[in-house]
Symmetry: C2
Subunit: 165 residues, 2 copies
Amino acid sequence: MGVTDDLLRNNEEYARGFDRGDLPLTPAKGVAVVACMDARLDVHGMLGLELGDAHVIRNAGGVITDDEIRSLMISQRLLGTTEVVLIHHTGCGMLTFSDDEVKDQIEADTGVRPPFSLESFGDLEGNVRESIDRIKSSPFIPNKASVRGFVYEVETGRLREVSAA
Amino acid sequence: MGVTDDLLRNNEEYARGFDRGDLPLTPAKGVAVVACMDARLDVHGMLGLELGDAHVIRNAGGVITDDEIRSLMISQRLLGTTEVVLIHHTGCGMLTFSDDEVKDQIEADTGVRPPFSLESFGDLEGNVRESIDRIKSSPFIPNKASVRGFVYEVETGRLREVSAA
């Protein structure tokens, strides 16, 4: 039995106590959060979000690729969100390797080189700024008045804002 | 003042009570969850996950594109996860439109047609199976023994497994 079976048992308990089956599709707070997938980030906890409040988009690094533009576009154009909160964090795994070294290793192991960027980065705050820029320069994101970027400190639980360049 | 400022005030309170600053980078349970960004999904709550347990990857639909393969590849190859839990859900916004109608509208509004798929779908369980297939057919994901897909019922809080095709 794997861990997945344990998680399913946890879900049975969650469903027994569940009483929020009436929430609407559109997020109550009109916010979309983009954050790293890191296991030490509890997005709901750190922002005080309740069930139904916000879209949460996450990937390795919390970076902005076409897939995050797709998700934000759907979030804003079809589901009414107007603010974006971007969250990178201290101690991120994406700071610990370079695209080329990992691609070399994968190609050696599998015979195939990943055709996409791994989106690793060396400058945490610079990458937050780049992510903001990628959103602001996209023609597909209509609401750009509140696109703010933060570094979450895994040591303290605190968010600090990254000022524009 | 926007909602983002309210969330930052919530974070000040979170940081005051924070005492988990010593967690390691690698997820304790060795699991990566891929789920829809929908506001009604609390991934930690529904699976009983604690801070530090799992990578959480989310986007519109919980679909698998190159960016989710990138994140899962980093999760497994560099950070040691071995199981994947895929979560789509009832009442998903992705069931309510077609790619072409939204692309037409965006092109009319902005003059630019999105060059990427919007990944809308009409068959919820079928799309879970397709997402599993996209992971299992990728040469970049080394651990495929436990890639399981679920539909989360927003009405009941319950996960039901989607059997393989």
